[in-house]
Subunit: 190 residues, 2 copies
């Protein structure tokens, strides 16, 4: 998606350790006009698969997921990273390894918001190793729901998450796929 | 705002300890159509004050803040609750006490995204004791920016945060103000 690639080129920063900092428009600070357009693009791509619900993970997935939900007019559910005192009753859960933070964390979804047979579209801001998406797939499986695909804003194509999930049969659609990046610039997959 | 009050009456749950659970539509699960309407209402209320930027706090403020930013076409900045490895350089920070979780946490905003003289609208999903808004006001003050007001989806009017902030001169506009709630129902302020 040219709009997103242009934004990454102009405002993204490549930091040591294969970190692409997009805090100016995609997380920390959000560009609402851009994000609403990303949501419309996810809707265009996945509307034909008739999703019932969007599933994302807090915090940085919430904005793009809300935009997609607004375009598709379906509920957006975000998995929470910690069990809070506001979570009562039973929950689905899975453990996700974060390479960014070097730790495992638990994500949970309350059972009353995800049901067997629902067609679920995963939406997230980034995919690198794919561990977050795998955690969400585990939760969808626990609920007996069906994952119809994953819409991702930015894919680090030089890491294996997207390719591995596609090889397992999941439809993964990324709006910008980075082939390589370094201090000289960012190259997107054609 | 009748739309929000009706939704709270029909889908909100009053739990022990003055907890209003709105996880069905405002946090955990989001109703995008409702949330985009809340954003338009915040825009209607505050557009005349010409905000340059919206400031909220992760995670549950992000959705309503994005909706307001989309309606006003201005950037949305969300304060982060933990210093992550993606935060480089200097940051503004303040300590917020959470009565819900019974602990203090630090919220941070990277300095490059908030500047002296900017007119900042705070947006959040809830106000009860007002500690989160006070933390954001502290960050705005550190930046030399100006808080033009706070747009809140749901105010617990029986707790003192909203009243205390208004008495200090902050414009606090809440779309639904709960006067009282118990197992028999929810009463909104007229």
């Amino acid at each position: 998606m040219k709009l997103l690639e242009d934004k990454i080129r102009s405002e993204g920063k490549v930091l040591p350790g294969s970190v692409l900092k997009v805090s100016a428009f995609l997380n920390h600070q959000l560009d609402p006009d851009l994000i609403m357009e990303l949501g419309k693009e996810f809707a265009r791509i996945f509307a034909g698969d008739s999703p019932d619900k969007i599933l994302t993970i807090e915090s940085s997935g919430i904005a793009v997921a809300l935009a997609a939900g607004a375009a598709l007019h379906i509920p957006v559910l975000f998995a929470k990273k910690h069990r809070t005192s506001n979570v009562f009753g039973e929950a689905y859960s899975s453990i996700v390894h974060s390479y960014t933070h070097g730790c495992d964390y638990t994500v949970i979804v309350e059972k009353e918001y995800l049901h067997g047979g629902e067609r679920v579209l995963i939406v997230d801001d980034f995919i690198a190793n794919g561990k977050a998406v795998e955690g969400l797939l585990e939760i969808i499986a626990q609920a007996g729901a069906e994952a119809i695909g994953a819409g991702i804003a930015v894919e680090k194509g030089f890491q294996d998450g997207g390719a591995r999930l596609r090889s397992k049969g999941l439809r993964v659609e990324s709006l910008a796929i980075i082939e390589s990046m370094d201090e000289n610039g960012i190259v997107f997959c054609e």
